[in-house]
């Protein structure tokens, strides 16, 4: 049976210092801990394949370290594919696009990002639409500029066979009072949506209703859970709320929080979603445990509803 | 998709798991905010096993922890099965059955493990044939060899009667060793006594893995698949009195398949030639990180070995 959903895993591995470790046993003996098991891309990609993931989404802040090991990103792509993993896309940040004068710079940065996505063989550029809310809310002009900036960026992506997906974050400047307006006002030919299930729920949306309403724009997902839906404004709009001082986690592995993933997957079936869905587990202390667990959850639990 | 011949199981080296499930997982995590909380329940471990594409687990005979957690073996079996996993079997030790007067007690003990395997729906009892060489007064005398054969035959008959395949599982430091293990395999009754090929143990003893499988394939009903970087260890290491399995300096005899030096592609070609069908258990004792080993092994069998035989 052909599958509709291809699962990718978001790279939160931080810098990985080695391509491969041919002297693995000696390296292990230096410390005799599991440290040696997480130090090469060879291992990381094998874990992806071992946990049933077909893809990985890269983070732009990883590219510097990746290029140190793979100066040509096509090498990185080939290295991953040799181990059964494709690159589904890349995350990206819009930077100050609420100001008109910053739009050309954002377009240039998008061109550079898309070039990397194409080299990696990816299909998605998932864009965080702006700075933290605490850096200043969006006024009317800011909203119009954001829309224009996203349209321009999206056109660059579409021209290169990449889909730009707006990726809301609960603490970002595009937030509850205006994010639907911006989605609706952007050009659907160029600007799509990456539904981060936790972020949108923390902002205050009902996950299933949001997907049902905007499914035509939603081309991919960041699947993660939360135990803190509908967080009050004063927390979301505080400076630097993403990383909490006491280690409180906004994000949990699918099924560990309170979101209705079975409802979401029922709707994905109804709307016939096809494409990459990235499982994201930022906040976990153990990416491999989260990867193995979510590999189980998407196949053995959600897969019964839609796969 | 063609039907698969091999069902993969993962050997349980997780030690005692204190919880069945952790419904307050988030609170438990916050107590320490480390990954400790991710390795404390059967539910988690079974989910990881499924997440890594394994179809079963092999357990240990020390059943008390399972019973304590689940209430009964049947509850344990039902829980594992409800997750979509099977229990391929259990490991156990024969005890000092090379001494005639010990045979009845050894057989009684193994019968209990056979009952355990049957109760959890397992197919295999993989049995370590005897005490350590260094501690048990190896080498086996002629009497000791005959007693071992008798003991294994009797145990195997009970297993067979209860729907369980008893497989000899050699260990490189055990009293049944290089100078007599083939003789014992050949002299036991093939109706009752089968063989579980532990790829690393047999190689450390000094056998060539592929030749051994080719020679004894009609007795081999299951595997413990693990790698080693120390094949053909000298007698003085294997026969040491100081429990050579766990080395004082942390030296590892065993590695994940693909991380040692054994010829697994060669073995799988022979498994194809002989049409092996059944459970194969991946075992990664010695690993500091069973989940990393599980994910790596899953990649290796599903991406590399599957291409040869699956």
């Amino acid at each position: 049976m052909e599958k509709n959903i291809r699962y990718s895993y978001m790279s939160h591995w931080k810098d990985i210092p080695y391509r491969e470790i041919p002297n693995f046993r000696d390296f292990y003996y230096e410390d005799k801990t599991n440290y040696a098991y997480y130090q090469s891309w060879d291992q990381i990609f094998k874990y992806h394949a071992g946990c049933g993931y077909e893809g990985m989404e890269v983070a732009p802040w990883d590219l510097f370290a990746i290029r140190t090991l793979f100066p040509d990103l096509r090498e990185f792509r080939a290295f991953a594919e040799e181990r059964g993993v494709e690159i589904s896309g890349m995350f990206h940040g819009m930077n100050g696009g609420r100001f008109k004068e910053n739009i050309p710079r954002n377009v240039e940065q998008t061109k550079a990002a898309v070039e990397n996505v194409v080299l990696l063989g990816g299909k998605h550029l998932n864009v965080c639409p702006g700075e933290n809310y605490a850096d200043g809310g969006l006024d009317e002009e800011g909203i119009l500029n954001t829309i224009e900036c996203l349209n321009e960026m999206g056109r660059v992506c579409e021209d290169n066979g990449v889909k730009l997906g707006v990726h809301n974050e609960f603490f970002c400047i595009m937030n509850k009072p205006n994010h639907k307006r911006i989605i609706e006002a952007t050009d659907p030919r160029y600007v799509h949506y990456c539904l981060d299930t936790a972020q949108v729920s923390i902002i205050g949306e009902d996950l299933c209703k949001f997907y049902d309403d905007y499914h035509e724009r939603i081309v991919t997902f960041h699947l993660k859970d939360t135990a803190d839906p509908k967080l009050p404004d004063e927390i979301r709009y505080a400076p630097f709320p993403e990383i909490q001082d006491d280690g409180h986690r906004w994000f949990w592995e699918l099924g560990f929080g309170v979101l209705d993933f079975e409802g979401l997957f029922t709707l994905m079936k109804k709307h016939g979603f096809k494409g990459w869905a990235t499982v994201e587990t930022d906040g976990t202390p153990d990416l491999l445990a989260s990867m193995a667990y979510t590999g189980y959850y998407v196949r053995n639990v959600l897969g019964k509803i839609y796969c | 998709m063609a039907e698969k011949n091999i069902k993969y199981s993962f050997m349980n080296h997780w030690k005692t798991l204190p919880y069945k499930e952790i419904p307050n997982f988030r609170d438990f995590y916050y107590e320490d905010k480390t990954n400790y909380a991710y390795y404390q329940s059967w539910e988690q471990i079974l989910n990881y096993t499924l997440g890594c594409g394994f179809e079963g687990i092999e357990i240990w005979p020390m059943a008390a922890p399972y019973i304590e957690t689940f209430g009964s073996l049947k509850d344990f079996k039902d829980y594992v099965n409800s997750k979509g996993l099977g229990i391929s079997g259990s490991f156990c030790g024969m005890g000092p059955g090379h001494i005639k007067e010990n045979i009845p007690a050894c057989v009684e003990s193994v019968k209990k493990t056979v009952d355990l395997v049957a109760a959890v729906g397992g197919r295999h009892l993989n049995i370590c044939p005897g005490v350590n060489y260094g501690e048990g007064g190896g080498p086996l005398t002629e009497d000791g060899i005959r007693n071992t054969i008798d003991c294994l035959n009797e145990m195997g008959r009970y297993a067979e009667d209860h729907g369980v395949l008893m497989g000899i599982h050699n260990e490189f430091f055990c009293i049944m060793n290089k100078d007599n293990h083939k003789r014992i395999i050949e002299a036991t009754d093939p109706k009752y006594v089968h063989y579980c090929l532990d790829t690393a143990q047999v190689s450390i003893i000094g056998e060539d893995l592929c030749t051994f499988y080719d020679d004894y394939h009609d007795r081999i009903v299951t595997f413990h698949l693990k790698d080693t970087a120390s094949p053909k260890m000298p007698d003085e290491v294997r026969y040491a009195a100081s429990n050579p399995e766990i080395q004082d300096d942390g030296w590892r005899w065993f590695w994940e398949p693909g991380l040692g030096v054994l010829d697994f592609p060669g073995l799988f070609k022979l498994m194809k030639k002989h049409g092996f069908k059944g459970w194969a258990t991946v075992e990664t004792d010695g690993s500091p990180d069973l989940l990393a080993s599980m994910a790596h092994s899953s990649y290796y069998i599903h991406t590399v070995l599957d291409k040869i035989y699956r």
Binding site: K14, N23, F24, D26, F27, Q39, D245, P285 | -
Partner: protein, 305 residues
Amino acid sequence: MKTAFSLETVNTRYQEPNRNRVESKYYWEELFQLVGAGGFHAVELPYDPGFMGARCCFPFSKVVMDVKFGGVEGFKKVLADAKIDKIAGIFASPRAAGSVEQYVEGFKRSVKGMLGLAGELGCDYVTVSASPEYCTMGALLDKKAELLDALAAALGELADEAGDIKLCVRNEFWGILRGAGMHDFMAKVDKRVGYCVDLAHIKIAGEDPAEFIRKAGDRVGVVILTDTCFEDKDEVWKGPAPAFPRTGATQVFKDLGQGSVDLCAVFAALKEVGFDGWATVDNRQTRQVSRGILRARYALNAVEG
């Protein structure tokens, strides 16, 4: 001689299970207690003013101290509560960029920023790498002499601004001032600028740390107590990511006492040259921070008797 503990010990960049803990404030609050309990009552901070951009709570910049600790005084109070009464120093390693002029300007800007923060923190020293990683230098390599002259001059200017803060130069094994190459450079630099003697870096570059200290004499400004077993037989120092040798994975920097640096000889040499500044333990690349604290204390106890 006074001992401090460097927070560079904490891995903020590379993958390992539980790495995410370092992103939150609670981790650092407890770490300071462990450092204090390990008998270290002073710390060194890596300096990275950009880290808040990663949304994390690494207390290596004024921004994080302001946002997360209520400013410098708040940060110092958290340290004091953990029995750490001093921030001995801060350090940074500028990256190569552009021309000689651009690099030196960036270097000066960075050191000025460090001196400003060091003044607020009450530090005794600021150390800075004069040379970027060899493999990142590109065209700068062709102008090595010009670059070093310009840096020497810049350090002299910066020494004027440093006042009571000891400005020191670090010589990583992957830089053009590696090993004994440092002495020629330092001969050209204002005498107020000291050596930052990083034991492991010196050893990997093929020099004997104790001998190096004797040559540096009264210009030893700070000693970084690091350890290593690594022998750079394949010249990995010239390649990318030299702290992670491509020729074979290894932990280049060991916890103090776990490598082959002769600490007794180092301490004897420091006594000979009359050194009375900071000796800072840096277990960079440690596999376990708390074990590393105790290993370092054990090693220091052994050498100090």
